[in-house]
Amino acid sequence: MEWLRLVPYWVYVALMMIGLYGAIARGNLVKKVIGLGLFQTGIFIFYISLAVVDGGTAPIAREGWEGPYTSPLPHVLILTAIVVSVSTMAVALALVIEVQRAYGTVEADELAALDAEGTEA
């Protein structure tokens, strides 16, 4: 059942790749943001998988339990990363809204066309 232990890693890689594809290749800015979200979520899963210790329980001190615990460090780290990610999302969405207001569209190719007009004018 070795492959089962690797499932989280496969999921993480798949999510990252899907997300990266979305962030880079999609023309719609909102879809790009969604892609970024997937991308980062993949990384969260990776970190959480890192923390697993065979037979470990949640790292809460209890009477009469000497361990093992899962490593709390990646959890703490990824909590921070989640906050960062949420902030990024927030800034990204705010930008998308501003773009929609200024250009009337959030499609990358239309934006590029509008920007090109601006340069020539």
């Binding site: 949640a58 001190a61 909590l79 906050v83 949420v86 999302m89 927030a90 969405l93 705010a94 809204i97």
Partner: protein, 148 residues
């Protein structure tokens, strides 16, 4: 926008459930914030939960209503205040002769456990306030289309 929201507010079940739920959500959030020092929880999670109460209220009663209850000025200020609290704890430790964020220097000398508990609780409180306020600000920014 309002046309979509009104039916939600008129639905008695939704309104009553929300009314029932919101206090508990807030209390649970505060519990998570303050409990973070010894168990699962902490400022991040608790802050989000508290913010969720705000969202629920906004969904049911509309943005204008919830912003009347908690104006945007307040949330903006709270976001900065929370971080200030966090940093202030660090500086307080500095001023009391410890390292930056060295909780042991906070309380009565010698009582390291209590000092640490105090420091962590304050820091988590700061984090919780900031996270809640920030989530609310994000929500406001995204939902509040074209108001300024």
């Amino acid at each position: 926008m309002n046309a979509e929201r009104r039916p939600l507010e008129e639905q008695v079940v939704v309104r009553k459930t929300a009314k029932l739920l919101i206090p508990f959500v807030v209390v649970f959030g505060v519990y998570m914030v303050t409990h973070g020092e010894i168990g699962p929880g902490g400022g991040f999670q608790g802050g989000v939960v508290i913010a969720a109460a705000y969202f629920l209220h906004a969904l049911v009663h509309g943005l204008a209503e919830v912003q009347r209850v908690i104006p945007r000025r307040v949330t903006d200020a709270l976001a900065a205040l929370g971080v200030l609290l966090y940093a202030g704890v660090g500086v307080a430790a500095l001023l009391r002769g410890g390292r930056f964020l060295e909780y042991a220097a906070l309380g009565a000398p010698g009582d390291v456990v209590a000092s640490r508990a105090l420091g962590m609780t304050l820091v988590e409180l700061g984090v919780g306030v900031t996270v809640a306020a920030t989530m609310i600000t994000i929500f406001n920014e995204v939902v509040d289309d074209g108001e300024h």
